[in-house]
């Protein structure tokens, strides 16, 4: 589903990733770990073309991300649901609207948008918050809104960047269990986290970034 071959990324002569190689199979759930600043977010950004790789080749499904036409980028991004580290919730829009936007950009009819948004809000246990302003919600609730937006269109790939960032341990476990449930329905998921507690005992593959590349692989 996703493959990196010899991918490198530099920011102004400063190397973030060098010669990264790995593959993630369809339907798999994989963790990417490493200390803060290791390049986890950068690696995810390369997948949805928020950043351009400087070397190597990245394949996502039927897209060659490293040689993609600019006009094809929206199509690529619609195959991918992203749980952004900084949430990126839209100001001035309700929880409902924040989730619905993922379907609006796909041009779905209003009726279908409504039923799918309420379904997904139920699934992440925030159905009762549909009309709230996200700003008024707790960190854990906001995180669920972001996850709901990432999964509502049922994309093939879900990328979660520190999805338990500032959450208390119990809420963090809830979120990971939620992502595992979503994975069972068929989505390929990559979770980037610096928190080893999250993948311990999951039985999922864990890729560790160290010294700008994938330094090792283990089972969580």
């Amino acid at each position: 589903m996703i493959s990196f071959s010899n991918v490198s990324k530099f920011y102004d002569y400063h190397t973030v990733l060098r010669s990264v190689n790995f593959t993630v199979e369809k339907g798999e759930m994989v963790f990417i770990t490493g200390p803060s600043g290791a390049g986890k977010s950068t690696l995810l950004k390369l997948i949805y073309r928020a950043e351009d790789a400087d070397e190597g080749e990245i394949i996502v499904g039927k897209f060659n991300v490293t040689s993609i036409k600019s006009s094809d980028v929206p199509n690529l991004r619609r195959q991918i649901g992203v749980v952004f580290q900084d949430f990126r919730l839209l100001k001035g829009l309700s929880v409902y609207e924040n989730v619905a936007i993922a379907l609006r950009i796909r041009g779905l009819p209003e009726k279908e948008i409504k039923s799918r948004v309420f379904d997904v809000l139920k699934r992440v246990n925030i159905r009762h918050l549909a009309d709230s302003n996200p700003k008024a919600l707790s960190g854990g609730e906001q995180q669920r809104v972001v996850i709901a937006r990432a999964v509502v269109a049922e994309p093939q790939v879900i990328l979660a960047d520190e999805p338990t960032g500032n959450l208390d341990p119990n809420t963090a476990i809830d979120i990971i269990n939620l992502l595992k449930d979503i994975n069972i329905t068929g989505s390929t998921i990559i979770v980037a986290t610096h928190n080893k507690e999250l993948f311990r005992g999951t039985g999922k593959r864990v890729l560790r970034i160290d010294s700008n590349t994938i330094a090792g692989e283990e089972i969580g």
Partner: protein, 291 residues
């Protein structure tokens, strides 16, 4: 499709910036109003210039003391000329009577007049396709060569003056029109840009979610189109008001103003012109949208 959503987003954005949008629409309206006035003035001058020969035709003045036979032969000669529809003979006496009729309020000017100072004349009407400056000129020259003809008066001089005036006005207005229309596009561009910057963060996010350029642009194009359309509508309405004021009120004083024409098409075309300029301005304001 997402047109409904784009409309809602556009309306919401315009409501949030309602004063700027309103101000912008009025600025656009005043520019388009001037564009429309200049256009109408040029259009009417052009119309008038086109009918000037039809109105006045040619007037042939005859030499004094021609016999009836000589007069008749001049008329026959003139009739033979290409382009002449009709020739009306006005004798010296008729001419005097006509003038006396017109000036009957001031009839004392004719007191003590014992000779008739006027010339006999022939008024010609010309065929429509014959009314071009060159053809009228040659015709006058040919008629002047007929013996018995003293002078040929054509509206040529008036036409040339109007033509010259019209041409210099057109050149000037072209510059003014270009400036005004660029101004309109710029005003709409600036207004849409404000909304665009306001939504910059949101746009970055929807780009990452997979929104297409069309999805992102549409609300802004709708905003620009709305401002342009409203501006076009207001300017058309204002021009119509001015037009009726002139034709109904001022025409008492200057009867020629009664002939002013306001083409009906303008009412439909001009708001659409505003709309197109608005879309143009908005398109430039949103820019390339890189992914």
């Amino acid at each position: 499709m997402y047109i409904g959503y784009a409309l809602k987003t556009a309306l919401k954005g315009m409501y949030q910036e309602k004063w700027i949008n309103l101000l912008s629409a009025f600025t656009v309206a005043s520019s388009l109003f001037i564009v429309l006035l200049i256009g109408l003035i040029l259009f009417n001058i052009e119309l008038f210039a086109g009918t000037i020969h039809e109105r006045y035709g040619l007037v042939v003045f005859l030499k004094d003391n021609l016999s009836e036979l000589e007069t008749q032969s001049v008329i026959t000669e003139i009739h033979k000329k290409e382009g002449v529809i009709s020739a009306r003979y006005i004798s010296k006496e008729d001419a005097l009577k006509e003038i006396k009729d017109k000036l009957k309020d001031v009839s004392y000017v004719f007191e003590g007049l014992d000779t008739n100072p006027l010339s006999a004349s022939i008024e010609l009407r010309l065929k429509k396709d014959f009314i071009t400056p060159e053809k009228v000129k040659t015709l006058s020259k040919n008629i002047k060569e007929i013996s018995g003809v003293d002078e040929v008066f054509s509206a040529e001089k008036i036409a040339e003056t109007i033509d010259y005036f019209n041409r210099s006005l057109s050149n000037m207005s072209l510059i003014v029109l270009i400036a005004l229309i660029s101004g309109v596009i710029f005003v709409i561009y600036s207004t849409v840009k404000i909304l665009f910057y306001r939504r910059k963060e949101e746009i970055e996010t929807v780009k990452l979610l997979g929104a297409t350029r069309a999805f992102i642009r549409l609300p802004f194009l709708i905003e620009g189109a709305t401002i342009g359309f409203i501006g076009g509508l207001i300017s058309t309405a204002a021009t119509l008001v001015i037009y009726f004021a002139i034709t109904y009120r001022l025409s008492n004083v200057f009867p020629i103003l009664q002939n002013l024409v306001f083409p009906n098409e303008v009412i439909v075309v001009f708001p659409i012109v505003g709309l197109i300029l608005g879309v143009l301005g908005a398109f430039v304001a949103v820019g390339k949208l890189r992914f």
